[in-house]
């Protein structure tokens, strides 16, 4: 924790993420307008700034872009967090079992991971959602699947290194069960690198979610998501460029926050980089 606060990028990342979480929770309170309310006479309105009624302008139906960005943060964060959580749990379990048990089980798990990695990950996510049908839940599922291999690999390599340590042998000598050794003693020590991958996975998950929604495969109307806002903005690219600019900036800053946090955590975990 002490090191965490010393890393500039980790702190900046945490601040960005913190702001975002507050925005997502309070979205309806701080939104200047009802994000669903249409104002057809004022559609495609350019941003008016803080002096006007619509700070970031309006969309094709005259709905307030700023309010929609604020509320849209929920879907992005929720989908990314759930997908990352699922890939974290499954990835850590699979990676730990592969590394600890070894042999045929290890070979099987790693070949399946190779199989997932044989596809460009966005393409695989698109193909999965196209098969099981569009929607928020299916998008989460697809994102979780394509993010599992990174988690499995890092957990497995940590477990492989740690299982030769003396404290593991001590546990075995004491007659502790393998499950207990693996989950109570080894995994605790893998915490830091897993957290780095989870943080970077969050960033990727936000991007993939936006991509799926942009292609119409993620959140469906009337759910507001940043990716869908970009898809609407694309239709009005000549007349209302603000409809694509601002939701995209929201994505950039969110992903930036998680990347900064991930980078910072990695630097902390690597003593060679500490103090640079």
């Amino acid at each position: 924790m002490k090191y965490l606060l010393r890393s500039k990028s980790a702190v900046t990342g945490l601040i960005l993420i913190g702001i975002l979480i507050i925005v997502a929770i309070l979205a309806e309170v701080i939104a200047p307008h009802d994000p669903y309310r249409m104002d057809i006479w004022n559609s495609y309105l350019a941003p008016e700034g803080f002096s006007g009624k619509y700070i970031l302008g309006t969309d094709d139906m005259g709905r307030d872009v700023l309010s929609r960005i604020l509320v849209g943060s929920r879907v992005s964060l929720l989908v990314a967090a759930t997908a990352t959580g699922v890939s974290l749990v499954l990835g850590v379990i699979l990676g730990a079992v592969a590394g600890y048990v070894g042999g045929a089980v290890d070979a099987f798990i790693m070949r399946v991971m190779d199989l997932i990695l044989a596809f460009p990950s966005i393409l695989l996510a698109i193909a999965i959602v196209a098969t099981v049908g569009p929607g928020v839940v299916n998008a989460m599922f697809a994102i979780a699947i394509v993010r599992i291999p990174a988690m499995v690999r890092v957990t497995r390599s940590m477990v492989l290194a740690l299982k030769e340590e003396e404290f593991v042998m001590a546990g075995q000598a004491l007659g502790l069960s393998d499950v207990r050794i693996l989950f109570r003693h080894i995994l605790i020590n893998c915490f830091a690198p897993i957290l780095v991958v989870a943080s970077l996975n969050m960033g990727t998950a936000i991007t993939v979610e936006a991509t799926l929604s942009f292609l119409g495969l993620g959140a469906q109307p009337p759910v507001i998501s940043w990716g869908r806002m970009l898809a609407l903005g694309r239709e009005a690219i000549r007349t209302a460029p603000h409809m694509t600019l601002y939701p995209g900036l929201a994505i950039v800053f969110t992903v930036l926050g998680f990347n900064l946090l991930g980078d910072g955590l990695r630097d902390i975990g690597d003593p060679q980089l500490r103090g640079r």
């Binding site: 044989a118 393409l123 991007t207 991509t211 292609l215 970009l230 694509t244 980078d263």
Partner: protein, 327 residues
């Protein structure tokens, strides 16, 4: 070396079989009966059963897979439901455009990313260092397709020389015409069209390259032989380029290879934004039209290309670093 290549090729076979199973299942699990889709609402039960028998849909799943696989291996990927054309022809028509876009993006990323990294590393701690690293961090965090939309609305709309959509001519073909017939028109047409999509697709890779070049070069510049070279009285720029950069580029080459695959994935969406006539846009359109043979063929093709690119990266890396061959 030859043994290493053969071993890697043999290892690819089970992987590609696995890929084909996944692609087959993806097409199969898709909701909606393709036969009913094809025959329309007023088809009788007998018609449906007859067509099911013709297509072999009445057979057990493993049998269907084997039939599909043996045909796929000979290059027969079926017929597109909507375009009533062989899937293979549709894909090969567009594969060149996708590869060209990806390769051109990599070229832009390398040509811009490495100098930025060198610039930042040699001015470590300066304002320029901070600015270029912050900009590249933002570049890494940016969805390429959004950058594409921004480039369209804020650049292409205001610069008449840059078209908003389409491809019109191949830039590599244009380069060939330029070199053999000394005519620049084809090359310029191709260049005008590819510039914006390739930038949108290449920015994240450029940012990754810049960051990696910087950190790798910083590490190398701290080595003893750099001090020796400087002590010999060589100019600093000479030391950086000849002794430093040369040794710092190995990890950069690796990441270029790894990222090339991500380019193929990113191209799927970038092509949609710029109406680029590649495989990615073909697949996205096929998805919205529920044309599953085409989706299957496109995804399979991309995965196969991706696997071969990874193989080429591994082989070239083994060429540079002999230790890998014996692992």
């Amino acid at each position: 070396m030859l043994r290493y290549i053969i071993r890697r090729l043999v290892q690819m076979i089970p992987l590609l079989i696995g890929v084909s199973i996944i692609v087959f299942l993806l097409g199969h699990l898709a909701p909606g009966d393709p036969v009913r889709l094809l025959l329309g609402e007023e088809a009788t039960e007998e018609d449906v059963a007859r067509l099911n028998a013709i297509y072999g849909f009445d057979q057990p799943l493993p049998v269907q897979y084997l039939r599909w696989f043996t045909r796929a291996i000979t290059g027969d990927l079926g017929v597109s439901i909507r375009q009533t054309m062989p899937v293979r022809a549709l894909i090969f028509e567009r594969l060149g455009a996708t590869l060209e876009l990806a390769i051109f993006s990599v070229v832009i990323a390398v040509l811009l990313g490495i100098p930025v990294g060198v610039f930042a590393a040699t001015r470590r701690g300066s304002l320029w260092d901070y600015v270029s690293m912050i900009v590249s961090l933002i570049g890494v965090s940016m969805p390429g397709f959004w950058l594409g939309l921004v480039l369209l609305s804020y650049v292409a709309l205001h610069v008449p020389w840059l078209p908003m959509f389409g491809r019109d001519a191949s830039v590599f073909q244009g380069l060939w015409v330029l070199l053999t017939q000394f005519r620049a028109d084809v090359f310029l047409t191709g260049l005008r069209h590819i510039l914006l999509p390739a930038t949108a697709l290449g920015v994240s890779m450029m940012a990754i390259i810049a960051r990696l070049t910087r950190s790798s070069l910083l590490e190398v510049l701290g080595k003893d032989y750099i001090r020796t070279a400087q002590a010999k009285g060589l100019k600093y720029s000479m030391v950086v380029l000849k002794h430093g950069l040369r040794n710092a580029l190995l990890p950069v080459i690796t990441i270029v290879g790894i990222q090339f695959g991500a380019m193929l994935g990113g191209a799927v969406v970038t092509e949609t934004v710029f109406a680029w006539p590649g495989v990615g846009r073909l697949v996205v359109n096929a998805i919205s039209q529920r044309d599953f043979p085409l989706v299957q063929g496109g995804v399979l093709m991309m995965a196969v290309v991706f696997t071969f690119v990874n193989l080429l990266v591994d082989i070239s890396y083994a060429l540079v670093n002999p230790r890998i061959r014996y692992e």
